[in-house]
Symmetry: C2
Subunit: 730 residues, 2 copies
Amino acid sequence: MRIWIIAGLFLMAATGSHAQDMVGFSPEAARKQQQIEAAFDAELRVANLDDWMKRMADRPHWVGTEAGAENARWMKKQFESWGYDARIDTYQVLFPYPRVRLLEMTAPEPFTAALEAVAVEGDPYTAQGDALLPSYNAFSTDGDVEAELVFVNYGVPADYEELEKLGIDVKGKIVIAKYYGSWRGIKPKLAAEKGAIGCIIYSDPKDDGYYRGDVYPKGPFKNATGVQRGSVMDMPLYPGDVLTPGYGATEDAERLDKEEAPTITKIPVLPISYADAEPLLKALGGPVAPDSWRGALPLTYHIGPGPAKVRLKLEFEWSLQPAHNVIATLKGSEFPDQWVIRGNHHDAWVHGAADPVSGMVALMEEARAIGELAKDGKRPRRTVVYCAWDAEEPGLIGSTEWVEDHLAELREKAVAYINTDGNGRGFLGAGGSHSLQTLVTQVAGDVPDPQTDVSVKERRIAAQLTRGGDAEFALSALGSGSDYTPFIQHAGIASLNLGFGGENAGGEYHTIYDTYAHYTRFKDPGFRYGVALAKTAGRIVLRLANAEILPFDFKPWHATVNEYLEEVMQTADNLRAEVEKHNSLVERNAYRLAADPTEPTADPELKAAVPYLDFSPLQNALAGLKETVSGLSGKDFTKLAPAGRKRLNDLLMHAEQQLTDAEGLPRRSWYKHQIYAPGFYTGYGVKTLPGVREAIEQKKWDEAREQINRLAGTLDGMKAYLQQIHDLAP
Amino acid sequence: MRIWIIAGLFLMAATGSHAQDMVGFSPEAARKQQQIEAAFDAELRVANLDDWMKRMADRPHWVGTEAGAENARWMKKQFESWGYDARIDTYQVLFPYPRVRLLEMTAPEPFTAALEAVAVEGDPYTAQGDALLPSYNAFSTDGDVEAELVFVNYGVPADYEELEKLGIDVKGKIVIAKYYGSWRGIKPKLAAEKGAIGCIIYSDPKDDGYYRGDVYPKGPFKNATGVQRGSVMDMPLYPGDVLTPGYGATEDAERLDKEEAPTITKIPVLPISYADAEPLLKALGGPVAPDSWRGALPLTYHIGPGPAKVRLKLEFEWSLQPAHNVIATLKGSEFPDQWVIRGNHHDAWVHGAADPVSGMVALMEEARAIGELAKDGKRPRRTVVYCAWDAEEPGLIGSTEWVEDHLAELREKAVAYINTDGNGRGFLGAGGSHSLQTLVTQVAGDVPDPQTDVSVKERRIAAQLTRGGDAEFALSALGSGSDYTPFIQHAGIASLNLGFGGENAGGEYHTIYDTYAHYTRFKDPGFRYGVALAKTAGRIVLRLANAEILPFDFKPWHATVNEYLEEVMQTADNLRAEVEKHNSLVERNAYRLAADPTEPTADPELKAAVPYLDFSPLQNALAGLKETVSGLSGKDFTKLAPAGRKRLNDLLMHAEQQLTDAEGLPRRSWYKHQIYAPGFYTGYGVKTLPGVREAIEQKKWDEAREQINRLAGTLDGMKAYLQQIHDLAP
């Protein structure tokens, strides 16, 4: 909805360089907004971030701990002291605590994994012993299995294709996969689909250890004993409490039996360190792993199966635990029923100084400063809702239950949701609804980078350029991995996810080394990017809250969706070309002739041809949308009477919901959004136009045709909806 | 010169499927040739290759050793027993033997490098103790230096550009470089140019050790103690005896003083194992090396300089040693003064089972079989000359001195030179003069692959296809690295280099592990590819020796040179685009804004713009050549009277010489060929159209313009020369 920019340009001479084109604001309102933002910036205090991190990350505080509950109560009080109405919304959610963790090699020689990271000098937090949560993967099933070991690289679909070429089957085996290459939960999910009976995940030093840089405590990277914890719940099916899919896990909610819960893994899975992985990998025989599979341990990476044989025994205590979401509201002065929602989680796997406390303390300082503005007569026109989510780590549980529990009200009142999580030194990363791209770009242009003399937008563009990219500031699409998921993908609320990074590399993620000591040495010394995050997110909140016309712009949205369609069509073409190439080589016998006859290889087979799909419904829908979106640019909505403006904002804040479909995606109806979803086989990694794209990737041609029509219907609906906005024009 | 193919096609119905288009043969002659080749194949005995390797590789036999001299005498007798006139041509060449080798770390903690590979179980050859040549780099200068250490990746020009970006200077330092990425001699050459005072080269396990596969003796790869020996003579300047550039190192030759010899390194250089390198690399500080620099040792790769400080002390015994070339001649029945020359070296760094004995024994069996054919009345029509070169390892010395010593006679009588060196299991690799591409392609189509049911040509094409390549069999261009260099690049004799490989990976190259035991386990068990090599090279020799019209075809030659010109023009365009991009980023301040201010980086500077060059002289020359070469296709030379045919063959055998220029390449006049040369800063790696290409790469624009005109002159001369052939047509 570029109209505001154009209106702004018209008035350029009369306005300051920043006020000229502030999306959603008349020049006069923009000037006032700039004063508010200057006052906001002036209110931010580095010392608060530092003090609060020290306090919140002093002990491990995963969901259900007393430390976590205390943090929630303390935050509630803080918000109240800043003028917010605050409450704690608590849900009762299933959470597994590890009681038995045994991993031993039983052949060719005995070895028992230590499963324990060492305390390091100079970081007393790492010496808290039994208070530290043992390393494990939450929502692994219980189990006691013993089998030959197979190394499966990252354990993603392409790796199993490679194994198939080598004639290696994981049926009845235990797989060992490297972390990375996909979200961790994909590894046991796929391994189980392929018939494996257990799964070990380890951090290879190539991805996460000495290969990357000096290890803790000398440098920030993972030492030999560090273990990444993390959830392996099947979140691409649905996130949140495993027992209450689609509705809030309130005290009295009906619950599935644990045994029926589809998002608990089918096989036991355990994360280990590279010190524990090394003897296992060393004991593998079989073919040498392909070049791209090999890590940085000083050994020859073999695939197996065997002769290494391992036993994996896991038992969890499965109990309902209270997840405490802190919800703090500052009622809007003019539109109390239009909510700008801002959130970050507060639970951590261990101390979580970086993840999530670094983002949480920036959010709190931002909330405090906005509270101070309100006390000073600059109360936001719309309501702002600050949220501190619990139980994000085990599966976005706190936020998901809250969204499910308040779905109707949220779909009515939410303007947008702005998420943050861990933060560090570097470059602004921003993902989200592309109707907000203009807003975020403008804000990024107004926030100074702490290390240079330019804006965070300019610094990021400089980085893009030196890495071969272009000079445009664009939002990435959101997959999953933090609390925006229920908002955007389930409720259809326009969402953003923000954070700085790129100069904060380390190996502390989900380990006992994610501490205040580590953070302040390596991640964001002096909290300068913490303050930059508060400035960025705070500006976005304030502009959404104060805009005369809600700052949604559908031109970049349309252009981006159009790119996605081109990608998807290209995907189908590439797949077709690959199959044709493959089949021509099979027919020519080239694979067999080129293969080393002394090495095991399966003869590749002919693949079914990839049909041409009719993408014209999508092309036509987007062509129609282009016209409508362009038509909006010619209109001057600033002249709307108050009733018309109210109606306009009402339409704007609900536009994103037009992109959802009540039936959701195939086989995972919880995911309603038709433009963005986490990949079924990538986990966090986004799939745009997911219904169509995943059908093509999985070669389900009938489903692809259905999904094309469904998505075209959604886009046509969006066009009709935007037409209503168009028709409001005076 | 595709005319013969076309003439052949005309007679297809009357001939066998192979005889139909044998380049250089009428159908009738082709049928006879096929019978000769069948008899040749039937004569080849695997057992001979096995016996001879066992004999020749039983002791270390580098130049100057008694074992090497004995091998030469024994081979001479063998050739004589097969009906050849054989002699030993001996040259007196400077050769350094290592007397003192000391490498120690003096700070931050003491460490002394072992510099010794261990004997391994199951391979008695590795236990010969003092008989093994100590590991060293031949033609390192003597020296005793101590300085801080700097890790320079592969030590190639791009690596020094990276160091410059990081603000790191190697002046006064000792550098440590990984093997690979260039020919080893480039590393000390460039290091000295940059001001370093010493150079250590080590084999990283990523390129050459456990990362690649199981290490010796479990598998074929380099264990922690293995060290690659090798020459670091500045061969891109001139190869061969360092004291007699451009002329034979005969007993009485005038010699340079060693101190003047420009191809001895300027700084001491020593190769070491990864066991010896690990403590040095571990002790380095400074920035973490860029991702692409990092190897597979279990440590964080830092660049330095220091705090590691090392002392390198080297002393050599410099003495003249006899290099014994065995020259065995089988006089041609019809054209005794037309020589088909075939060679392989016989000296090794240690036992050299793979390098060079595997190629040497294939050559000998090939020579024996041709001798048997001659005894059986199938004497080749042209003279064949079988050569076993000495002193190849220290710098192509035996072959270079021989070529220099016999230059005039060779330029008169040589038809072509066919080289081999180490050989192993896998795919046919073939490089050389592109006028011989048709011949080699046809031969490759007639030699059965030992492991499959297709020809070695078909198997190689299958491999190309599965790796994304095309279905054409093409010769690569020759750079350097074996004895073809003096023939093609100095004398202008059409040359080929042949060998099988790709399924023979290992880490034995130039180590004490290149033994009969290692070879027969890992490189070519059963010598099946040794026999395939004899079949391939032997066929090429026999076709060149027996052809009615010498099998040169200038169509693929022209097409290939045309591709090289396109590459060179693209290189200039790419360079221009890079400079423009770089300068635009510098002007925009993008590098500084994108850089991590906590890490050392030098501010990049504006680069001089790349001018547009006038390539039209080359484009016009090649357009003219295209016409001439195409014109040849219309002619039927088979009807030439004997005198005309003699004149034709005379022109054909000297055509390659038209591609040389008496002045040679800039700053290295020994290299006369204008189409192929080893790169001045790659060493073995070829640079095609070297005068023009290297001037562009080194941004010497005036020289580029000169070289364009010089090369255009050469190509115009070639056109006039080929026109003489054209005018011979009846």
